[in-house]
Amino acid sequence: MSTQAPPAPTCEVHNPTEQWLRMDRIPHIWCPGCGIGSSVNCFTDALEKSKIPRDNVSIVSGIGCTGRTAGYLKLDSFHTTHGRPIAFATGLKLANPKLKVVVYSGDGDLFAIGGNHFIHAARRNMDMTVICVNNMTYGMTGGQVTPTTPLTAKATTSPYGNFEEPFNLPYLAESCGAVYVARWTSFHVRQLSKSIREALLKPGFTFIEVVAPCPTLYARRNRLGAGIDAMKYYREQSEIKNGAPTRDVALGFQSKIICGKFVDTSRPTWLEAQVQQHRAVLGDKFTLAENWEGVGEPRED
């Protein structure tokens, strides 16, 4: 899990991600080979390229290894309680629609304890980008089974192998009403970054699943080797199929991973629908909230 500290650099070298990080919080807690860090690199790259002003972005996380992301990014960050980031993000967005609200959390946080919030935010087309790092386990609490653990995989609470059918996250997101759905692995850095950028720039509920390794717990318990072995697996077993029907992209234990952009559609967001409905019924009596100007006007997308 831990290695010796790398030798001190002989000249000042800076990673382009640094400007987005709270460097006083580094070194981070993530294990060597963990996939969360590379997903964060893609995220900051996407943010940079999206040209959205930094001050207009707010990031919300739940609790977990992935949940620590909010604390490392030099953005307005909201580290909430376990499972609740989407609910917090809802209030945040509605109180200030000018903000770009991003939820960054783990599979357990978003789909076990937070599952209810996920399905309802997607149904409402609440304007936010949800990024789920799916490492198929509860990392922070030591490797228990999650709603995305593949069948037969071992976890501390499924010592005899998992027998519960996991969620197929893209299918779930689409069925609940997400307008943008994509899946990449932490190996697909360029594609992932591009997808995040598209999602950030798209109004409505946008969802990206990042399949990522947890070498310390999930891989070790299932004898899948180190982080590098996960990269090999992702490279060899991934197939990019943009537009694939989401019902066909379920993941099995060490199975093929179908990646790509599966859904990219459009419908009114909750805010837009709300303004339109109230304006239609209340007419002149309707008052638009102070910082909502522009909401409900036709948009060009």
Binding site: C65, M140, P147
Partner: protein, 585 residues
């Protein structure tokens, strides 16, 4: 430092093998027949941060974890900086010179360099085996036989293949050899009287953690349904149950959250199963809704709360006793509950078993307030004699009572016979609306009063049933000071009282096992019929929660001895409070 015990602390970076070294060392010591008590502190994160394992081994049984050490093994500088002051006079510090720089440090204890990294590299090419070097070294320091430790490693690494095993054994032996040189002339623990696991009075002993003991106690009491949601420091209860219950015809479900976990337990209980869940503070909050429902539906259920540092996500891996008020009062409306608090690993087993009996007998939720220090601690305990565990079952209606059956019949004890769904004639509604004796919704004031009285009468019945075990207390003759504590602080309090006795200060001690409802008669005897003039309430929280609870019932103004620093009390801290209270008498 008492003559008969040796205290060892190991510190280093999380993930470096500190915990595994300690675990193997304690296993070896236990196999050699020593009593052990261990404690570990690790960072909330899986990687990085300061991790420590501490261990006390003795030829007698042990009450409190170590706080001063005879031996410190520092894997890195951070551990050395953090812990060197905890080494007792005459103790010794071992450090890896490639990781630690002593320059400019003021260290009282003797220091001996042990090149863990170097030795490991010599035998395995990398420094991976450094924890095995440390293990060998400490085994020698503790006076353990090499063969016991070697056998243990062989069992552990056999499956990993010859090569890995050989490297680990080589590292172990090299460490042992270096240990032999360093321990020259140093007193080590006398070899134990009872090698090979035979404990006091010939009873077999086992080494387990508080959480494992909790899980096993539940199974022994007949629990066959567990639903939970992972949370530090309670997860290992769910994990232990996941491993064992399938062999006992039981069911374990890891639910989507704590609300679902307790709700499903209530479903199982309604169907007649003995059910439990286990969580920590943040999960207990979420369970509030269902605990309240269980009280009004009068469903037996056991909720284990392994307390950790709060508030909110707080200090996930640290010690605190701060859920007491929520456990007692957290509800919509007013509900009877029972709260028990184990004080040791052995009590985790027995009190959990009793919690099931209480839940069955009085048909209500019972909360077991364990904590981080018990969860992560391992102790040598006498193997519980399962045949001695009395298992109680809820009161069932007789044939006659099934004619015109009333689920919530208002009885003199408050307890009404409960029919399990499927019982002919026992059909009934269990609901969260206020109900009459039949279970039908009823909102009249007189009915509400009557049903509240019936539900709370069960606690009166419980008080009348109170037996010896509900509190542990000792009134010392002529003692003007009395200490009241609850839960895991007991061992430290007892040691502090012994330290005080050596100084000629007498102190009485009251430690309830049932924390709510309070064993009031016994407490009254302790407070009012004894020479005690000043009471100290010792607890590990910031605001004095148990003290508040006591003040609401008794006319006392206790000295609050509080600690909320994430680690358990040190006996000497309580001793200092005793000395001060004595001076202020």
């Amino acid at each position: 430092m008492s003559d008969s015990s040796v205290m060892i602390r190991i510190g280093g970076e999380g993930g470096e093998g500190v915990i595994s070294t300690g675990e193997l060392l304690s296993k070896a010591a236990s196999r050699a027949g020593h009593s052990i008590m261990t404690y570990r502190i690790f960072p909330a994160e899986i990687k990085g941060g300061l991790a420590q394992f501490q261990m006390r081994l003795s030829d007698r049984s042990i009450r409190a974890i170590a706080t001063e050490f005879d031996h410190l093994m520092a894997f890195n500088q951070e551990a050395l900086d953090a812990f060197h002051e905890t080494v007792a006079d005459g103790g010794c510090i071992y450090y890896d010179p490639s990781e630690c720089d002593l320059e400019g440090m003021e260290i009282r204890a003797e220091t001996i360099p042990v090149p863990l990294n170097e030795i490991a590299k010599e035998h395995g090419g990398t420094n991976r085996g450094k924890n095995m070097v440390a293990l060998g070294f400490l085994a020698r320091i503790a006076g353990l036989d090499l063969s016991v430790t070697r056998d243990l490693l062989t069992e552990k690494f056999r499956r990993k293949g010859e090569k890995i095993l050989a490297v680990n054994i080589a590292c172990l032996e090299a460490g042992y050899e270096v240990g032999a040189e360093s321990s020259n002339g140093r007193a080590v623990l006398p070899s134990p009287p009872n090698g090979d696991g035979g404990g006091e009075n010939g009873r077999r002993t086992i080494v387990i953690s508080g959480n494992e003991a909790t899980a096993l106690g539940a199974i022994a009491a007949g629990c066959r349904y567990m639903a939970g949601y992972p949370i530090t420091p309670a997860s290992s209860i769910l994990e232990t149950m996941s491993r064992h219950l399938p062999r006992f015809g039981g069911t374990v479900v890891q639910c989507e959250d704590e609300i679902a976990a307790l709700a499903s337990c209530l479903g199982a209980s309604y169907a007649g199963q003995k059910a439990m869940t286990a969580t920590s503070g943040p999960g207990l909050m979420l369970m509030g809704e269902l605990m309240t429902l269980a009280s009004t539906q009068e469903l037996p259920v056991v909720v284990i709360d392994v307390q950790r540092g709060g508030p909110s996500t707080g200090l996930p891996t640290k010690q605190e006793q701060s859920d007491l008020k929520f456990a007692i009062y957290g509800s919509a409306g007013e509900v009877p509950r029972i709260i028990v608090a184990p004080a040791s690993v052995e009590e985790c087993f027995h009190l959990t078993a009793r919690a099931f009996n209480l839940a069955e007998r009085y048909q209500l939720p019972v909360i077991v307030l364990s904590d981080t220090s018990l969860a992560f601690r391992t102790e040598t305990i006498p193997e519980p004699d399962v045949s001695q565990i009395v298992v109680e079952n809820r009161l069932q209606p007789t044939k006659a009572e099934l004619v015109g059956y009333q689920r919530y019949r208002d009885t003199p004890t408050g307890v009404s016979p409960v029919a399990i769904p499927g019982t002919v004639g026992g059909i009934h509604i269990a609901g969260g609306l206020e109900h009459d004796e039949n279970g039908s919704p009823c909102y009249t004031g007189s009915n509400h009063n009557r049903m509240n009285a019936k539900r709370f009468r069960k606690l009166e019945t419980l008080r009348e049933d109170f037996d010896e075990w509900v509190a542990d207390f000792e009134i010392v003759e002529d003692a003007a000071l009395g200490i009241i504590g609850w839960g895991s602080t007991k061992g430290a309090i007892q040691e502090a009282i012994e330290m005080a006795a050596e100084r000629g200060i007498r102190v009485s001690h009251f430690h309830p096992r049932i924390v709510s409802p309070l064993p009031e008669k016994r407490l009254r005897r302790f407070l009012e019929e004894s020479p005690i003039r000043k009471v100290l309430v010792v607890e590990e929280n910031f605001t004095g929660q148990f003290s508040h609870f006591l003040k609401a019932k008794f006319d006392i103004r206790p000295v609050e001895v509080l600690k909320a620093e994430g680690v358990p009390f040190n006996p000497s801290e309580i001793f200092d409070a005793i000395v001060k209270a004595e001076a202020d008498l």
